[in-house]
């Protein structure tokens, strides 16, 4: 996700939600079955009825509190962090409530987990929601006791009278509270009084993920459903010229063989689906299909040709980003004392979440219900309604846990496939992609090329800095925005001025669009993951050319940005940077701001054979207010692991339309034993919270390659690289 879009969404969202807080006062009652020890329910099958004071809080007369989480959990922790924001102000403990993921209904506003934006955009709105409800409950108690509100306080689901032993539970108060006006500007707690935010509390869904009961999309069973395995075109974009399904249909368990389609935002492709009464029967049937494909665009899909196009594009200046344009780089380059140029290439990557894409969909009588791991149920409602020609209110999404996503599960081709099939056979259909589908069919992180140019004066000060981005545009391909006369506004993330406040007297960022038919999409930290490789590697190159220590060089250029300076200073302290340097150790550093948080890594490597061994990764993150420090550390470690995997392990290559990798044997990810030691420090902060799920990733590859340079004298400018043979 681009930071730009999420920021816009969040502003709209905030207004909508504020309005909802004031407007929503629906009332209803029901005996809701208890969660039976599973504290987080991720399938909203049963209606949740109680007193709905606003869309996010439901309290029934027995005092049971249900909080609705409108940010699907894909492992980043939103089933704790988001409801905790409500719970903190509502004065209930998270282990007292049931947490239910929202269903895509418009009343919840934006429900997309993406752009590391969940906590940063929900921090005030969700706290406001909790505070408003608490004030109503306290008011109701004060009215009941005929005492002033100031004589009452709320704690752990009850309202107490100060200095007295009497109290009333929220369940006893909710009916009268719901009749009160909703406070327009409830008072939020002083952060010093937080009892949950900022504490490393255990995540409530963990027990279900340890005992095997957590429900992922893969685990959904709907009575009468058929399992579908789909033969996708080997060259991604293709038409089915002819097919023979006789053998498949004769195979035990197979019920239907159907020509079907895969609808992507930029293209629709054809495929053949086998539907059976078990997944194995469907898979087996698929292997018996005889399909002749007609591929018209395969020649145009070739990653080697694509990267050659990028190199050509990099020779032209591209469209410049006006907001970061400073001075005149060309003039500065012309009079430069020392001119340095280098290009950095990053590959296409598959997301490879552990849970392959899957969806269970039932289309009947102009209505559709979905059970699936998706990152944004609200955007899926819109997409499905359009695709099927249904009204939005006739689309219901039951969001399961997501077995990893990393951006992939905000692209709903697999859900539309299931809908297309269900509509044809009038029965629920569960589509399960194989790992091969996941690896080969895309969408992928786009391959990019950073063409960098810098000028140094006689004192080794940077006079001019140019970063030319070259590659495909998600905004253009997925969102169909033409970029004929302008750079892709999303693609500058990580190197725009707020994200990269290095003080260069002359600076120019630009973008040259190179289109591709290869399906592309955001991938954990998106363009920040590709841009920062060039940016932070090249800063390092400039430092070496200037004969300055890379840390000191950065500190000098960031002197006007105190949060960056503090992060770097803390990183130096944490890693014993000066001592390591004095001992001649190879320690590479990189710093990046993305998704409103700053993260820096120091990576220590040692020469080993023809390559290097990664000894340790030190990391400091400033993400503003820390909601759950333990989870933040986990997310940073997670990003380091995924960033290292992207740097030294995997790459997607396409030859004549055909993806060359297919499964974990040739699209390898780091395993236990390949992971270096890590030490993560979370900066204490009272600043507004930033993102956590992605900002740890962008600085990984450059910090590693900067260390490799120190150890070997070799500059890695193309990813991935073989760490055992640099």
């Amino acid at each position: 996700m681009s930071a730009n879009t999420t920021k816009q969404t969040s502003r709209r969202d905030f207004i909508k939600i504020s309005a909802q807080t004031a407007a929503f006062l629906a009332i209803g009652f029901e005996n809701l079955a208890n969660g039976k020890g599973v504290k987080v329910r991720n399938l909203a099958h049963e209606p949740h009825i109680g007193v709905e004071i606003n869309p996010y809080v439901l309290i029934n007369e027995s005092g049971k509190v249900t909080l609705f989480n409108a940010r699907p959990d894909m492992g980043q922790g939103t089933s704790q962090s988001i409801p905790m924001l409500i719970a903190e102000e509502l004065e209930v403990r998270l282990d007292q409530v049931e947490i239910v993921t929202s269903d895509g209904s418009a009343k919840f506003g934006s429900q997309l987990s993406g752009g590391s934006s969940s906590v940063s955009t929900r921090y005030l709105p969700m706290r406001t929601v909790g505070a408003a409800v608490k004030e109503m409950l306290v008011q109701a108690a004060a009215n009941h006791w005929h005492v002033p509100v100031s004589a009452c306080y709320a704690k752990e689901g009850r309202v107490y009278q100060k200095n007295k032993t009497i109290s009333l539970g929220y369940g006893e108060l909710v009916a009268s509270a719901a009749k009160l006006p909703v406070p327009s500007s409830p008072v939020l707690k002083n952060p010093a009084d937080f009892t949950q935010i900022g504490k490393s509390l255990p995540r409530p869904e963990i027990p279900s993920k340890v005992n095997g009961t957590a429900k992922f999309g893969m685990d959904v069973v709907i009575p009468g459903m058929l399992y579908a395995s789909i033969a996708h075109a080997p060259s991604i974009h293709a038409k089915v010229k002819s097919y023979h399904g006789e053998k498949a249909i004769a195979s035990p368990g197979v019920k239907f063989v159907l020509k079907t389609e895969r609808k992507m935002p930029h293209a629709s492709t054809e495929a053949v689906a086998v539907l059976a009464d078990s997944y194995w029967a469907a898979l087996k049937g698929k292997r018996l299909l005889d399909i002749e494909w007609e591929s018209t665009e395969a020649d145009a899909m070739n990653t080697e040709k694509y990267f050659n196009q990028l190199k050509e594009a990099g020779k032209s200046p591209g469209f410049e980003y006006k907001e970061s344009l400073t001075g005149d780089v060309n003039k500065a380059f012309a009079g430069a004392n020392q001119l340095i140029e280098a290009s950095y290439q990053t590959p296409f990557l598959a997301h490879a979440p552990m849970e392959p894409e899957n969806a269970t969909v039932y289309v009947q009588d102009g209505k559709v219900e979905v059970w699936a791991p998706v990152q944004g149920p609200d955007s899926l409602v819109t997409e499905l309604a359009t695709y099927l020609g249904f009204k939005k209110e006739h689309v219901k999404i039951n969001v399961t846990f997501l077995g990893g996503a990393f951006g992939r599960k905000a692209y709903y081709d697999y859900v539309l496939e299931a809908a297309h099939l269900s509509k044809q056979i009038n029965a629920p259909v569960k589509v399960i992609w194989t790992r091969e589908d996941d690896t080969q069919q895309g969408p992928f992180r786009p391959g990019m090329l950073s063409v960098m140019k810098g000028a140094l004066d006689a004192q080794g000060k940077v006079q001019a800095f140019e970063h030319r981005l070259n590659g495909a545009s998600i905004l253009n391909q997925v969102f169909q925005v033409p970029l004929d006369n302008a750079p892709d506004p999303w693609a500058e993330e990580g190197i725009n001025l707020p994200d990269s406040p290095y003080t260069f007297p002359n600076r120019r960022n630009s973008f040259s669009l190179v289109k591709t038919k290869i399906p592309i999409l955001w991938w954990r930290s998106v363009y920040a993951s590709t841009n920062l490789f060039g940016q932070e590697s090249f800063i390092d190159e400039l430092a070496h050319h200037a004969k300055k220590d890379p840390l000191a060089f950065r500190l000098e250029l960031l002197a006007g940005s105190p949060r960056f300076v503090e992060v770097l200073k803390k990183l130096a302290e944490l890693s014993n940077y000066q001592q390591l340097k004095a001992q001649g150790k190879a320690v590479g550093i990189a710093i990046a701001r993305s998704f409103s948080s700053i993260c820096a890594h120091a990576i220590v490597v040692e020469k080993q054979g023809n390559g290097v061994l990664i000894k340790k990764v030190y990391s400091v993150i400033d993400c503003g207010v820390a909601i759950n420090p333990r989870n933040i550390k986990a997310q940073v470690q997670s990003n380091i692991t995924m960033g290292l995997t992207a740097a030294i392990k995997n790459e997607i290559t396409v030859v004549n339309g055909q993806t060359q990798q297919s499964n974990f044997h040739d699209y390898a990810v780091l395993r236990q034993g390949e992971i270096p030691e890590m030490e993560v420090f979370v900066m204490p902060s009272s600043e507004a919270p930033g993102g956590v799920g992605e900002p740890g990733l962008p600085p990984v590859a450059p910090a590693l390659c900067n260390a490799v340079f120190l150890a070997t004298g070799k500059r890695v400018r193309t990813l991935p690289f073989d760490i055992s043979n640099v």
Partner: protein, 161 residues
């Protein structure tokens, strides 16, 4: 289709399936034991790990006909209250992130500790490197295996007393 008798989580069950069906899909689609996960289908990722007579095996490539009279144990049957030392340690250390691979990790770890109650660093690496976690929870997995070893040994010594 064949009628096959299996011993799963100490219970005898009978299924009517194609005898080539991998055990994984028999567990998931025929017996509603969905804690065991599909990740790759080619024994590369370990998400489908179950025990066959106490040995960790990849159920995604094991034809159900090959199971025979062997006892199958899945995450659902690891411990009747889900309080196996490995599960306790996993919970204590907040190991999972997305959680999808964790049943396989837990079954592998529990089998490792059964054979080797006090595994060294290298033993844990060797024992756990067949299981992929895309979220990168490896450090916590490693620490939780050690923690589970402590929990198990504490409970054994208290039993002896």
């Amino acid at each position: 289709m064949e009628s096959i008798e299996l011993l799963i989580n100490r219970k005898k069950v009978k299924v009517e399936v194609d005898s080539n069906t991998p055990l994984l899909w028999v567990l998931r689609d025929h017996l509603s034991l969905v804690g065991t996960k599909y990740g790759c289908g080619i024994a590369q990722c370990g998400a489908c790990t179950v025990w066959i007579d106490g040995e960790p095996m990849r159920s995604c490539v094991l034809p159900v006909s090959a199971v025979g009279k062997s006892a199958v144990t899945t995450i659902e049957g690891l411990h009747e209250k889900a309080e196996h030392p490995v599960q306790v340690a996993w919970d204590e250390l907040d190991v999972p992130q997305c959680g999808y691979c964790q049943a396989g990790q837990i079954m592998t770890a529990a089998a490792l500790l059964k054979k080797n109650p006090k595994p060294s660093h290298d033993d844990i690496v060797a024992g756990m490197s067949g299981n992929i976690c895309r979220c990168g929870t490896y450090h916590r997995i490693h620490n939780a295996v050690k923690r589970a070893s402590e929990i198990a040994s504490a409970s054994n010594s208290s039993k002896k007393k």
